[in-house]
Symmetry: C2
Subunit: 209 residues, 2 copies
């Protein structure tokens, strides 16, 4: 399959899920997996898995399945996850500090270099594995360290201002935990994670009294 066909965003997202499943299979010493087995672990239909993989190559052996390790490495490559990716975090409140302590990021190849906060002096740095600086130095730091990704955990009222700063400094992707919709230029990608909205959304589906 050739590169001219764009890979749909949704497919990209699922690639990450597949990679997690493959990682577990690899750890368990499994060398080959069928589309139906992997699909079920990832919560999708077999045909969809095969279509997703077909966007960037042919890896399977008919009658057999996919080689776990090769497939995993290829997916990582496609996702651009060959090397450690530097990240900054803005807003060291409750949530921000928790994310700084969260080891899932590093384990997956992201390095949070530093945190920034409007009032760094009031932050209890004792259990945080990275330095917390004042917002003032944000733009310089991003430029100096060629940071392209940022995590935003500031209150709603500061979200847009922070995003503007980040974009001006060269950030291209933002993981936004602030409960607002950020307005950014087209070349910048934002993923919004609003925990209260996720809960609210779920609550629609439970029985009412």
């Amino acid at each position: 399959m050739d590169n001219k066909v764009e890979i749909p965003r949704k497919a990209i997202y699922r690639l990450s899920i597949y990679s997690r499943c493959l990682k577990r299979l690899l750890e368990n010493g499994i060398e080959t997996v069928s589309s139906s087995a992997l699909a079920s672990a990832a919560g999708v239909k077999p045909a969809q898995l095969r279509k997703d993989l077909a966007y960037f190559g042919q890896f399977g052996t008919r009658g057999l399945g996919y080689p776990v390790e090769v497939l995993l490495n290829t997916i990582r490559e496609v996702l651009g996850r060959a090397k450690l990716q530097p990240v900054v975090l803005v807003g060291a409140g409750n949530l921000g500090r928790a994310l700084l302590r969260y080891d899932g990021f590093r384990k997956e190849g992201f390095e949070v270099l530093a945190a920034f906060d409007a009032k760094p002096d009031e932050i209890d740095e004792s259990r945080i594995p990275v330095p917390v600086y004042s917002d003032d130095g944000l733009e310089d730091f991003i430029k100096e360290n060629k940071v392209r990704m940022a995590i935003v955990c500031v209150p709603a009222e500061h979200g847009q201002a922070v995003a503007n700063k980040l974009v001006d400094a060269g950030v291209q992707a933002i993981l936004n935990f602030s409960p607002i919709v950020l307005q950014v230029p087209e070349h910048v990608v934002v993923t919004r994670v609003d925990l209260a909205i996720e809960l609210e959304n779920l609550s629609f589906f439970i029985d009412r009294d």
Copy 2:
């Protein structure tokens, strides 16, 4: 518009976003809003906003727009957010404890009654506003308190077992922070929030060296 037409999940999700925007408008004393203004604040197209609202009624005045307060209340009603919703959290690790301290849930009408952990004795409860119990009591607690929603923050290897317990006890909606795909019966809704995957997904869209 009648109730026979199912509201798409994505539309439901957007209702939550609209409600946040409307809340801000209300706080600023704005009484009427057009579909284009509200849509732009919510990051969607005007036609989509109108379609979403049309799923459950007609609220606008042609030539004028929508009454902010009425619309907000109606959306809250549709979302089933009339009263406080009890929630339990399972897994009081870094992320779990941060979520317990996060005030966004309560502010939006969710009450985390208690947390459960495999090793509650090792948890530093000092800064957590709810009790942390042993996993043993999970099912009884859920039944006694008629809990229908749960937040899961346990390591991947325990995720499915915890989910099974929750479902058996009567939980109908799960917000899953564990990095696995939970297998649940059809009547149970799961929303997955995998922070590492979100980052990974974003990293696909930044320039490579």
